[in-house]
Amino acid sequence: MKLTLVTGLTGLLLLGTIVELLRRRQLREKYGMLWLAVLIIVIPLSLFPRLLDNVAELLGVASGVSLVLFLGIVFLLLVCVHLSWEVSALEEETRTLAEDFALLRAEINADRAARDELVSTDG
């Protein structure tokens, strides 16, 4: 009974945190929704750990709890890979931005130099 209490409370605490982060716009919806969906699945499981025992037996896993643990790790790995992918895309975007910025700055400096030359030959 104690374990159920600990896991259940942890789930609820996480839920509160995610909702609060979303409310303060500290978390993009696409990520917030993902974590909310996970918590909605996990919280009932933490309260009734035997829920998955039938599925576990079907797959040859000793208990529903181990199944949850395994799926949890797989899920976290997938999330990490996804984040690396997103960071790679972001890096490419910032790289292009930096190049654009450098090109524009070079252009402005060239224009300014040309104008200064015009002024000096006029005067």
């Binding site: 790289r95 930096a98 190049e99 450098a102 090109l103 700055r105 070079a106 400096n109 060239a110």
Partner: protein
């Protein structure tokens, strides 16, 4: 202009305020009428200002992107300003600009020309794992490019208009991407690659990395980069 072609020399530079003025000055002295673009790769010293004072055009990146990032910027500049030939030269003074006309000559029949060390001229030598890496890269890339390539990591290169346009939109920013991966990509797309023997000089400033451990790591990374480049589209 080199051999009647509008030519841009691209020099990627990171904290090279010590040598950049000499390199720019030498290029402008040896190759009159050629434009020089120094791409300042987020230097924290006065590289950009020194290069501009020496008569180069300067594009300054807001932060460090690595050689590959700086080079794509250079090729974008070459494309946007309608240069027919773009030549990359290192900022440390290793590449002798007197070879540039020789490189450009070969662009009539080729798309990318590499100034190669260890191809007869000069006495540049390496040993150990670093040498094995170079031998492996040369063997594989020579096959891919259907031509003899002995110095695939040379940063002394001349590109014609077609390759400029490709490099302006596609240029890897990662380790060895600027040398090894660009060669694989270029060869795969049917562009003709050739190398020209050049004598390589001692760098004017800075030191190369030479511990055995680092050389082994270099070999490993070179192998990984090459494999990735070969299986990429």
């Amino acid at each position: 202009m080199v051999n009647g072609k509008r030519t841009l020399i691209i020099i990627p530079a990171l904290n090279e305020s010590g040598s950049i003025a000499d390199v720019v000055g030498e290029v402008r002295g040896e190759l009159p009428g050629v434009d020089v673009l120094v791409v300042d790769d987020g230097s924290t010293d006065r590289t950009a200002a020194v290069a501009a004072a020496a008569g180069a055009k300067v594009a300054k990146l807001p932060y460090n992107l690595g050689v590959g990032g700086a080079m794509r910027l250079g090729y974008r500049y070459a494309r946007d300003h309608d240069y027919e030939v773009a030549i990359q030269i290192d900022a440390d003074g290793q590449h002798d600009p007197r070879y540039v006309p020789k490189l450009v000559d070969l662009l009539d029949d080729n798309d990318l020309v590499i100034g190669a060390r260890f191809a007869g001229e000069g006495d540049y030598m390496v040993r150990g794992p670093r040498r094995w890496a170079m031998v492996m890269l040369s063997a594989v890339l020579s096959r891919v490019a259907h031509t003899k390539l002995t110095d695939t990591t040379s940063g002394f290169r001349a590109a014609n208009r077609r390759v400029i346009e490709m490099f302006a939109t596609w240029y890897p920013a990662e380790y060895l991407g600027d040398t090894v991966e660009t060669l694989v990509h270029t060869a795969r797309r049917g562009y003709r690659i050739r190398q020209v023997p050049v004598a390589m000089r001692k760098r004017m400033a800075g030191t190369p990395s030479h511990s055995p451990a680092r050389a082994m790591i270099y070999l490993g990374r070179a192998f990984a980069v090459l494999t990735l480049a070969l299986i990429r589209r």
